[in-house]
Each structure stands twice: as structure tokens, then as C-alpha cells.
Symmetry: D2
Subunit: 365 residues, 4 copies
């Protein structure tokens, strides 16, 4: 259906390169009547970077999203919504010296193999810059989730060997704590240890991987579609489409391998409101790919950033041995997962919005 | 595009319930001229169960796939291929006593919430029985991979705390060792320890989770499509659509969280045949979602089977507390991942076949 | 999305060849809870042929549809519905003598060019036999339309120069008159003249084309999706996918070319129930591709059947001049449009059902 | 797949309203390596209007397309191509006086019914203005056709009762004659009569319908996909998605209804180059939905423009009787089909480009 599109009914198509004129997203299938404020989208975009954080490099000027279509008098009209973000800072001259080199951990080799061309300016479509479009689209999709009271919160769970301890009174509290952290980690103790690691990483000119956890609260039962569009299958598709991700797990995930059925099975009980819930939530919020009504919990593994301040052995495109040194002014993220937090959240929002519309289509006959 | 379909060009649509009359798959978009032998498909189906293994329960009669269309005089014609597998053993009377109970770890609660109906006979579409159709379809798709010399091999990597050590001379050797094992584990020592665990699990009437690893060899460069159809994103979608799966990781996967960029980056070098390869393969065979030509390596986490020989507290559909005891003659798999091995393999084959056709469509202009 | 599939949410995939073992259809995306009776489907299938009509040849035994999945205890479950129709009469030996000949007006030449193979038994996937699956699927889809009171009626409008005059009190009356006719033409006078033409055609061993008109009554406003899935665009797609069709027009259609805006424009007025309607219906029930609430009226042009009882000059597949004479026992339809009536109706039903579900998905936000 | 998208592999998604900030198209699935010149696209856009023609109204400033992504150093890169066309002339104040009126023949009533909103500025997404995006996209798609030597030429065939006589030595000659005509009609005599009709229509402040014919030359055999994506079915879908179209016919089309099989069947013969062709081409270039290699010929019926300089009775959105008089400065096309010529051509190009890529995907196994 086009490899730059995602979703069945609420469907996004993104375009634009990291060092081209602009990037953008077209949202098709968005219901009419949703209240949209351009300013809100821009606030969501700025949230991709924790405020005053030295752990996330940024372009000098903030991104500015502009809605070009699909919204009239502050409301969606049902027409496709195009949001454009012009690249303020598209100077790619610093890439000139390395334009003929295969970059370890980057996609320029594979794009060359696939397309026979080689866009040496930044990462092209493989760049994490593309994800700004997902966050903008999710800013619209969130309006659908809001109708159902659904809350999506992602945060840093693990960096190196340090794992955050997550405790919170309400989803709102969890989000607040997350946004207060310079590295989007809601656990203050854990965060401090992680920051220590990151400071070392920055000093070394190196990078490090991380795990981002995402929780979705107040999910209605019945979302997700068997067999190939199970909710977790769509989430996994969306998550693994984020640059730098290497793994997805839901509920107990890879720990399930070491568990017995007798400890794993989530028993059905009635809660205080006489609603069917499960006593535990090892499954992570779905059964048979359909939401149980329990919180959906999933983890995303991010690799360490490929761009580091070290000289690397590599090859040129004509297969000569070369040494790769990145331009002095290159941006380096010590931990791309921090910026990834809002993208994980965005993909979860997009999957949920689509699942809601799909469910509306077939319900109540 | 229909939640029972998978793939863009080489596209499968499966149908049928675990206790209905039959199951089947329609393959659309299969190139003409592939040599097909019904017997070969049936051999692939029988491989879902290790020979003489007590660790996998099975229906009494073997599955018998019949090609109803799309093949003429032993060759595919380009028309849709329908393969049907009649259920030999569709007696669901033993489910009668538990027909009104929510089954922990099963999908009958969520199907009820989604569809307002409750098919109490086995797992319906949520049953692992559906995967027989994927294996049948992959048996056709393999013919496309064969043209490129691609080999896909999956096996048990981990059960409980025991992790197999994988060493092999050739992909063929790896497959041979895997098929010789009663639990599809190619490492004899590891396998023996795992068997010990499984024997205890059977005695306890319990079940256990596992990790299945899959390797894809001789992959051409350039397969996979940016941005939302990255090869790993499609694999993750396919894998998480398998009943009982809880996680997917490629290359270093979740271990990436603890790695530094300087140790993670795979450096480009020339191999003996003057071909560009990477010195290491932490990425697991893709960069930017496109194949590098290195082996693709991914892991799948399987949860422990939900059906165990223990009495469980649960609710009835009218919200009364009940005790659930499975029928005496119910089938119990101590470790569903063993049967999952061939399904993981099948999904990888289907993803690769589709990626090959998509790449053919746009190449060489 | 697979060239053997049709529809976005209510989606059918058909398979099977005219002289293969069986044909079938998989319906994905059908809402749960619809009451289904296998017998009703078979009645719809038998309606493809007017009763006791000499103007439509038929297989000796009636088609017998069997539901293999997706229906439990008389209701749809939300799972994919597979309906199979076994070919009773798959003897293709009579095609042996002409197996090496290109058949004028048939698709064996183009299938050979496309796929490199040549299924000489009947028309394979190009055969009108495939349409039995569409009628079976529409038999299910009709249940969705019924919820909205929508009625679809198709009939023969024109054969040769004779055009039927259509007058009717109610849609039900129109359908009744149509079903009473030996050629599905509700205008008795016109029908008699057409029958005279057909009798001559049969005597000559020739065939003739026709126009089928279809009306859809009680259509809710708001169905159809701009821009590329306008209701008429989807109808046109569906109609032109029926074997033997050569044209589609909605409302005034090709007559529009000779009309002025001042006579064409349909003025908005209030009807007796204070509902907005249009005074005339030149547009044929849609504006901007979305239903107005007025009846949808469209025409389908059918070509004369290619198979006639005359010897034709042709080529063999190795490019030698040959004479083609059809087997003595070949079936000949003097006018394929008669059998096409129920297929046109089926495609209209399928398009409407899908449009209803798509509209449900985005409505009321 | 999103109602603002068209195509399976070469896939366009358009966005933007007639009186919004901008319109645009995203092309996904375009092969890499095609030579692209922004200037060429702008030339194609300007061709939508015959030069110095009084029969087509136009915006004051010409459209200016800008490529925002997907092209690097003059070549397509395989990344999605976004082309934007800013609306120079988006003043919609003249629509203020009629903003509360249902406009006969327009889509504002149906959009209101579907979406609950009412964009009173011009036609929104229903406006023919959207088609500028199709022409821009086709300008890229033509590069694919060029590789195969395929030529697509559309022209005015009929206005009122006047039908053009089409004779030409080569496709290039036909195109040249068409572009020389003030109304895109390659037959000088016919054109003169049509111009007389149009001059009367303009004087009356009325509008008139027309038929546009399109021929596609040098089509390879084997394009188009059975069953639901027959070449003519995709063309019909594409054509009926153009605003103002009411009918599509291929080959003999609706005339087939009056023909006998013995006169209709196209006999296979060898041509001078020993290639299989058909003696006649009543079918219009396809059999079974797949191209025969003969020219594809199809007609499109356009209705008369709805906007005329006459006062019309109508209703307001609150159901009061009103009189509708269009703003003095409204644009009036006496015959929208003239502008439709290049859009018909564009849709044919898009369908062919997609069919070529689909065929590449499955060929030669």
C-alpha cells in the first residue's frame, strides 16, 4: 500500500528528506469535526526534545508545522490533512567530505544497493528526522483517543544496566514526571544513575542504547483485528518502523520464555465497578490480538546511535578502504532513545486511532 | 486490507476455525510457472511436529492439504491458489461443559467483547490451528526464495534458563540438526537440558515459554522498503501475528540497550569474493530496513501455553465466579514454541517472498 | 491489494477456475451477528438463470454453495466466511481439439502473454463462471443493506435496438416483474420484441449484446468517498470487472454530452416528508461521488458472447493459420447480459455494503 | 486504502482544497533513476488549458509546481515525491453571499450530509482544481511509459450532436493536431462546428457536455490484472473519479449492445512483422482485462458544468427556498470536458504506469 504509508482507515503518508526543502505528512481518513489548533501540534513537536536537555542535540530553530489542508475554521473537514515542516537548516555541505563513504550503521549502503542512488546529505528517508511527521500526525490522532479517554505515556525504562522503577498514582502523574525529566525518565533515582552514564558517554564521544516503555490506559475492550492485524502485530510493525529500533515486546515479552503457564495466566475477576478485569496483566493488555481493557504495556529496544565521535574504518563506494571522521559540526545524540520516546508514543497513538475506526466500522449489527 | 490477509504482492488470505469444517488459504499474486507438488506441501505440514515427539501433541490423523485452484499441470498459473485442509477431528463436544466460561489466557473473552459472539468450540480464529495455512502458503512461497538461493532456518533457542549454543558449518547442516531434534533444538547439549525441563513440565501438567531464533541466509541486498515497510517491521508484524508470541527482536535486539555505539557499529569490509560485507552483524542483516546481504537473525518470544492441567478460578460469561477444569481429553502442549518453529519460518519466508516481488517491481529503470 | 480481491472493509477474495475442482470466495470484514442461511445463498445462485429460460444455457446440475467458515449457529461471527462451490461438471475433454488455438474474443491469448501459460480448459479465471462467487458474497452483503432498507434491482434495458420502458409502483414490484420475465426484462412489450430478436440469434448460432440497467433505492445520504473512491468510481470498477462488460454510465451518462447545464442541473427541493431531494435525478444519485439520497441509476454495456456456432479464422499458439470450430456440446449463451443481470446486482450490493461500513468508521465524531 | 489515493505500486495521494493554501500530490513507489525536470511538469500543467482559448476560463496566474522531495540531482531517488502547487488566487470572499445555499449539481449538499461540515469556499476536494495534482503526477509517470514507447493521446470527440472524425498518420500527429485546436479537437471540420455551439453556449451563459476519447498506442501485451483489477476496470475507476464524468466505455462500449458476436469478434492474424494482432479492434485493446497489444481506446462522458449564469431555485442549509445567483466574477467553463482532456490523459498514464510495475513484479519466474 505504499511503503511510506501507515494505517488502514486513519492513514498517514509521510514524505521529505532530512536535508531536503521540507518534510510533511498527509493524513487521510481522519473523521470530520475534530478541533485542531496548529499551536498544539507545534507544542507536541517541541516535546520531542526534553527542555534544556544537553542529552538531546537539536536543530537551532524549532520545527514549525503548518497545516495546508483538511482543516477549516478550526475543525477537520474529512478532507486529507497535509502538514508541512520546512527544513530551516538544510545545509548539507558538511557532508561533502564524506559523500563517497559507506557509513557504518547507516542506510546509505543499503539505499545504494536498492535504488542505485546515494543521497549523501544526511540520512534521507532513513533519518530519524522523518519521525517529526509521525508526531505531527499523532497530534491529530490524539483527538480521536481523547473521545474515549485513552491515555498514552512512554518513557525511558532502561539505559545500560540501569532500569527505572515505575510507580505512579495516575497516568497524568506518570506523564508529568516523565516530562519533568531531562531524559524522559519518570523515576528520579534511576534517572540520576542514567544521567551519570550519559555524561560519561558524551565525554567519550560515544553513544548508548536504551529501552523505552509505553503504557496505554483506559483502552476499550475489543480493539485490534485478528489474525494479521492483531493489536500487538500492528504496534510491532509501527514500532520497528522507527529508525534505530531493534526489538518490541508486549507484556512479559522475552521474559515469557522463562515462565510457566501456571504463573503466567491472567485470571479473570470482577473489579470494584463489577467490570471484568484480569488479576494480573502478564499478557500486557491483549488476548488473541484484541484489547482486554487492561493497560497495554510494551517495550521498545533502541540501539546506540551509529554516529559517534570516533574515527571508523570503512569503505568508499568504489570499494577502497577509507577512514570515516564525521564533520566537526555533526549532531550527536548520546542516546537516540530519548528522542525516540515521543515517537514511540506517536506510533501507539496512530495504531490505536486506526483500531478505533476499524472497530466502529463493523460494530453493532 | 482485511485482517485475515498478509503481504502486498504475494498475498495470503486465510480462513477457517479450529473446530469448523475446514481451514484454508488463498494465495494471490503468486508468479506463474513455479513447480508445485501437493505432496511437498503435505511434507511441510507434517514438519510442524517433530517426529515421534512426546513434547508436541497432535491430532490423530495428519493434515492433508489439497490444492483447489491456481495450479495446472504441476505449475502455478498466476491465478489465485486455494489450498484447503479439512478438519479430520472436529468433535467439539468436550468443550460443552466449559462453553460458558471465560478462559484465562484465551481469546474467548476478547472475541465476545469485539464481536458480541462467543464460539466456544476451541479457539476459533485465535487458535494456533490457523497457522497450518501459513505453513502451506510458505511451502509455495519457498519456490520464489529458491530462485535466489535463500535459506530460512528457525529453531528453539531458549527454554526456561537454558540457552542453546548454535554452531553449524552450513545452513543445510543447521536445518538437518534442527529436524533431528525432538524439540527442534540443533544444540544437542542444550536440547538435553531443555528436554529435562519439559519432562518436569509435563509431569506437573504445566507449560513453559521459549525463544525461537530464525536465521535467513544468502539474502540479496536491497530487500525491504522504507519507511513503514522496513524488512524488520514486516517481520515483526508477521511474527507478532502468530498466536502465543510476545516479542520480536532483530540482531542484538534488547541487548542493544546495554551496548555502546563503538562496540555496536558493524564496519564495512570486503570479503574474499570482493563483496561488501560487515565485519560483525550486530544489526542482524538490515540497515534502514533494507537487507545488507548479511544473514538476517531474529528472535521470537513465545509465552507458555494457556491451557494447563490445573483448575483455575475464572468467571462465567454472566460474571459468576467459576472453576475451570479442562476436558480430560484436551490437547496440552508443554511448550507451544516447538510447534511455533515452523510457523516462524513460514512467516519469514512469506515476508521475504513479498519483498522480492516488491523489489522486482521497481528495479532497473 | 491483490487483483482477485474487491472492497476495502467488506472485502471479497475469489478463487477457482471454470473447469477446476471448485470455486470459492472468502469474505473478510463482515460484521458479526448477521443471520445467514445457506439455502438463501443457493436460491440467489439459482436466480442467475431465469427459470425455464431457453435463453440462458446452464450446467446440468444446479450450483450448490457450502459455507466452510465464519458462520456459527446461523450467525456471522466476524471471522472470514469461506463459501465453496464445487464444479459438478468439470469435464474439459471437449476442449482438447482446440487447445492449441487462440480463441477470438477470449482471454487465452492475453493470459498466455501475461503468464506464459495457457489453461485451455474453458476460460479459467476469465470465465463468467467466476461470477458465481460474487453472487454468493452479495447474498451475505445484502444483510447489511437490509438494515438500511436499501433495495437493488437490475434488469435488461436494451437488446439490439429495442429499449425497455420501465414503469413500476415500488422497487419490489420492479423486482417481481423482472424475475417473472424469461429474459429478466420487466417491460412486457419490450421483452416480447427482445425475445423475437433472441430467437433469431439462436437460430443463426450467433450472439448479441445488451444493456443492463440497475437501480438502487432508499440509499442513505453520505455514502461514497472522495476523491478516488467516489461511489460511481467504485461502481465502475466493480462493473467493468464483470466479464463481457464494455461500458458504465451513471444518471444521464453518455447522453450528458448532448445536454446543457440549464436542463441537466437537478434542483434541490423539499419532498412531502420535508426531506431535501432533487426535482430531477439526471445525476443518477450522487454528487461529488457521494450519495444524495436519490435512487442510484446506472447502465452496463455487455458485448455479444464471443463463443458462436460459426467457424472462425484464427491462429494457433505457434502462429499457424487455423480454423476454429467449437465443440458440438459447447454451451452458447445468445446474450450473456441476461446472466449478467444478477452479477451487476451483486456488484452494486458489494459496493454499497462496503461504502456503508466505511461511512460508519468515520461518522459521528 | 485511503480515498485520496490511487494506484497499487505507483501510488499517488492528493491533498488540498480549491480555495485553501495549496494543493499537492505525494507519489509513492516511483522507481529511482527517472530524469525529472520541474519545468516539464509545469509545461504539462499549462497544457490543461488550450493556448489563448476563450473556451476555458483560467486563474490569472499560471500554476507553478514545486518538487519538495524525492528528486535529487535531477533524478528520482525512490523516496516519495511531493509536488506542491500553491493557490495564487485563494480569495473566496465572493462565495460569502451564497455560503448558506445548496448548490445544484455541486457537492456541498452531499459533503454536508457526509461530514456534517460545509466548506463554502469553492468546491473543496470536489473541485476540478484537485485534478492539477493528477496531471503533475502523470508528468512523472510518463517517464515510465516512455521506457516502453507507450503514447497516450486524449481529445474532444463529441460536443452536442457533433462528432469529430479522427484520422491521423501517427500518434504524434494526432497529439499535434489536438494541441493546435482551441478546444483540443483534432478534426478541423468538427472542431469548427463545435466552436459554433460553444459560442452560443457562452452567449446564453449556459454550459454543455461532451465526450472525450483517449487512445493508448504501443501498449505491451500482458498489462492489467484479473479479476478485479482488469485494465478497463482500473481505467473506469480512474476516469469516474474525475469530477464531472458520467460514463466510461472501452472499444465499442455501449454500441456493443446492438452488435452480433459474428461482427464483434476480433480475429487473430499476423501482421507484417509476424506479430499476433487482431484484424479489427472492437474490444478496444484488452481481452479478459489484459492488454492485447492493440491500441486501447476508451471514451469518457462529461456532464455540462453545473455553474451557469442563470438564477436557479434552491434551498438554504436550513431548508428555506432561495434563489441562487453566482457571484459576478465566478469562473464559468462552457464545457468542462475541454479542461478534462488532459486529466483523462493523466489518469490513463497513471493506470498504465502502475500496471507496468505490477507486471514487472510477477514476470519471468
Amino acid at each position: 500500500m505504499g511503503s511510506n504509508s501507515f494505517g488502514e482507515i486513519f492513514k498517514i503518508t509521510t514524505w521529505g528528506e532530512s536535508h531536503g526543502k521540507a518534510l510533511g505528512v498527509v493524513i487521510d481518513g481522519c473523521p470530520a469535526g475534530l478541533l485542531i489548533d496548529e499551536e498544539e501540534i507545534n507544542q507536541d513537536l517541541s516535546k520531542r526534545r526534553p527542555s534544556q536537555s544537553k542529552f538531546v542535540t537539536g536543530r537551532n530553530e524549532p520545527d514549525k508545522a503548518e497545516i495546508l489542508s483538511g482543516v477549516f475554521e478550526g475543525k477537520t473537514t474529512g478532507a486529507p490533512i497535509c502538514i508541512i515542516i520546512y527544513n530551516q537548516d538544510q545545509d548539507s555541505s558538511s557532508y561533502e567530505p564524506i559523500k563517497h563513504l559507506l557509513r557504518p550503521g547507516h542506510a546509505n549502503f543499503t539505499y545504494l544497493e536498492k535504488y542505485g542512488t546515494f543521497d549523501y546529505r544526511g540520512g534521507g528517508r532513513a533519518s530519524a528526522r522523518e519521525t517529526v511527521c509521525r508526531v505531527a500526525a499523532a497530534s491529530i490522532a490524539k483527538k480521536i483517543l481523547k473521545n474515549y479517554g485513552i491515555e498514552v505515556v512512554a518513557y525511558i525504562k532502561k539505559i545500560g544496566e540501569v532500569e527505572a522503577k515505575i510507580s505512579f498514582a495516575t497516568p497524568q502523574e506518570l506523564r508529568k514526571k516523565t516530562l519533568q525529566s531531562a531524559i524522559f525518565c519518570p523515576d528520579e533515582k534511576g534517572q540520576n544513575k542514567m544521567i551519570k552514564i550519559l555524561e560519561d558517554i558524551i565525554e567519550e564521544g560515544d553513544s548508548i542504547g536504551a529501552v523505552v516503555e509505553c503504557q496505554i490506559f483506559s483502552v476499550p475492550t475489543g480493539l485490534g483485528d485478528p489474525v494479521y492485524q492483531k493489536l500487538e502485530a500492528k504496534l510491532a510493525n509501527g514500532i520497528l518502523s522507527i529508525p534505530g529500533t531493534k526489538g518490541f515486546e508486549i507484556g512479559e515479552g522475552f521474559s515469557s520464555a522463562m515462565m510457566k503457564g501456571s504463573e503466567y495466566d491472567d485470571l479473570f475477576i470482577l473489579n470494584d465497578q463489577n467490570k471484568v478485569v484480569t488479576k494480573t496483566n502478564h499478557a500486557g493488555g491483549t488476548l488473541g490480538g484484541i484489547s482486554t481493557g487492561m493497560p497495554i504495556i510494551f517495550n521498545t529496544a533502541f540501539k546506540p546511535a551509529s554516529s559517534i565521535k570516533k574515527t571508523l574504518e570503512t569503505l568508499s563506494i568504489d570499494h577502497k578502504k577509507q577512514r570515516l571522521e564525521l564533520p566537526k559540526n555533526s549532531r550527536h545524540d548520546p542516546c537516540i532513545a530519548i528522542r525516540g520516546v515521543s515517537v514511540v508514543e506517536a506510533m501507539a497513538v496512530l495504531v490505536l486511532a486506526d483500531a478505533i475506526l476499524l472497530q466502529k466500522a463493523i460494530k453493532h449489527f
